[in-house]
């Protein structure tokens, strides 16, 4: 039976990393992207975001440097403890796996590595993007930022800071709070709750399927780690099995070789399994990154594969 697919290595657009003013991202994830209002306040908001990151870096680094002056080991222990608490709560909530669609030991290693990288960057710079459910999560992000400020004061105390140091960090913290407050005031109100979200990366991944109106939206689920959407595996399988031959006829642009390569074999109708295996083999020959990262080219429609 002929099976038509887009003969491209291009995988479907993955949901992250993302950017608030990107029209496509706003369409795909309207509950998260779109907090920056249109109009003149955009530049002020950008200025606030820039200032609060710069200040957080200075405050955290200053506190850490004070702690290192007492004993470098204290700093290492503090960082390790902070990351361990973060990872443990991720494991406890069943949210350890990163969104990359990688399995096995390598997938676990990449999840661990990226979780630690994102946590460290957020600790020192407060990148607002990382408040997403698939990263730190809204409530953890907010608590993390204010605990980071508090920890800097503890570091000053442990390091026996003088009056000048206390004033410097106090002023910088005040400026940070003002800047963050102005940012919250200027952003669209309905997105403020994203800073207090308790949802997990699994909720976020499953929403791609559960909240999408069409197949083009639902197909993004395969850009996420299978472990994240294990709770709706049956529904996804049923959707693929029921729609496969229609896609085969209609050839939607996301129905590419590399998309098929990411669909579990037991989701695919028996008659199309050989095609799927060929797609997997082809994807394996291309780079790992090619499987993971978006290609926004218009992939060419191709000839039937038997």
């Amino acid at each position: 039976m002929p099976t038509n697919v887009n003969n491209s290595q291009a995988p479907p657009l993955p949901p992250v990393p993302s950017y608030d003013v990107d029209p496509q991202k706003r369409k795909e994830t309207p509950d998260f992207y779109g907090y920056i209002p249109d109009g003149g306040s955009r530049t002020v908001i950008f200025g606030c975001m820039m200032l609060q990151s710069a200040l957080l870096l200075l405050i955290r680094s200053f506190g850490a440097a004070m702690l290192m002056l007492v004993k470098k080991r204290y700093f290492a222990m503090f960082m390790a403890g902070d990351v361990a608490v973060y990872l443990l709560q991720k494991v406890a909530r069943g949210d350890f796996h990163y969104w990359f669609p990688l399995d096995g030991a390598f997938g676990l290693f990449i999840s661990l590595l990226l979780r630690m990288i994102v946590k460290t960057i957020t600790d020192f710079t407060g990148v607002i993007q990382f408040r997403g459910d698939a990263e730190l999560g809204g409530l953890y992000w907010t608590a993390n930022i204010f605990l980071a400020l508090l920890a800097s004061y503890v570091c000053l105390w442990v390091g026996g800071a003088g009056r000048v140091e206390w004033i410097l960090v106090g002023d910088a913290s005040g400026a940070f709070t003002l800047s963050f407050g102005l940012f919250l005031m200027l952003m669209k109100k309905r997105y403020r709750r994203t800073f207090f979200s308790t949802r997990t990366g699994c909720d976020w991944a499953m929403d791609f399927f559960l909240k999408a109106d069409d197949d083009a939206g639902k197909q993004h689920i395969f850009g996420c780690n299978k472990k994240q959407w294990a709770g709706i595996r049956g529904k996804v399988k049923e959707w693929v099995l029921n729609s496969w031959w229609r896609w085969d006829e209609e050839k939607p642009e996301w129905f590419t070789e590399s998309w098929i390569a990411k669909v579990p074999l037991d989701f695919i109708p028996k008659e199309a399994k050989e095609v799927a295996k060929a797609c997997r083999e082809s994807a394996r020959r291309s780079s790992i990154a090619g499987l993971l990262v978006a290609r926004e080219l218009d992939p060419p429609q191709v000839h039937p594969m038997s």
Binding site: Y19, S61, M68
Partner: protein, 173 residues
């Protein structure tokens, strides 16, 4: 295509996109220049020479990450890869990336990332390898070593502003 048009329109409405690109490029180059200045300063002092090597290691690590990204992005095109690597080695990558995003640069056939993803990945690598540990190290040296140049304060402030810019850009663009 629609995205490129929309992005350009949004940029024009807020007049901010080009300003942000220029500012980002300027800050990145200034950051690199102040880092080199501080490294040279540290190297000239027996007491701080070790910190100079550490800071140099961070700058090199940041560049290696950028080179790795360029390698992955242009694997099938050795000449393009060589040109892109030269851009990294001359510290112009942030500026070039920023201008590509601002101009709505379309992804090329051999690429695995779009320009925006390349910019974000590069910025995250730079923050992790150089900006965060570099700021920490310079503040540590400033507090520990009495006769260190006060110009280090300027370098730390430039690093912080550059990192702030990069952080805001990741969320904003």
């Amino acid at each position: 295509m629609l995205n490129v048009v929309a992005k350009r329109l949004l940029g024009e409405v807020s007049w901010g996109l080009k300003m942000r690109v220029t500012m980002g490029a300027g800050l990145s180059i200034l950051d690199m220049a102040t880092d080199i200045f501080v490294i040279v300063g540290y190297m000239g002092n027996e007491e701080t020479r070790g910190y100079g090597w550490s800071l140099l290691g961070m700058v090199v690590a940041s560049m290696l990450i950028q080179l790795l990204i360029v390698f992955g992005q242009n694997k099938g095109k050795p000449w393009v890869m060589a040109k892109e690597m030269l851009i990294v080695l001359t510290a112009m990558k942030p500026a070039v990336d920023a201008s590509r995003v601002a101009s709505g640069h379309e992804m090329e056939e051999h690429h695995i990332f779009d320009a925006k993803t390349e910019l974000v990945t590069t910025k995250c690598g730079e923050m992790l390898a150089e900006s965060i540990p570099g700021s920490l190290l310079q503040l540590y040296v400033l507090l520990k070593v009495k006769n260190v140049s006060r110009a280090t304060v300027g370098s730390v402030l430039v690093s912080a502003m550059t990192t702030g810019f990069n952080s805001a850009t990741i969320s904003f663009e």
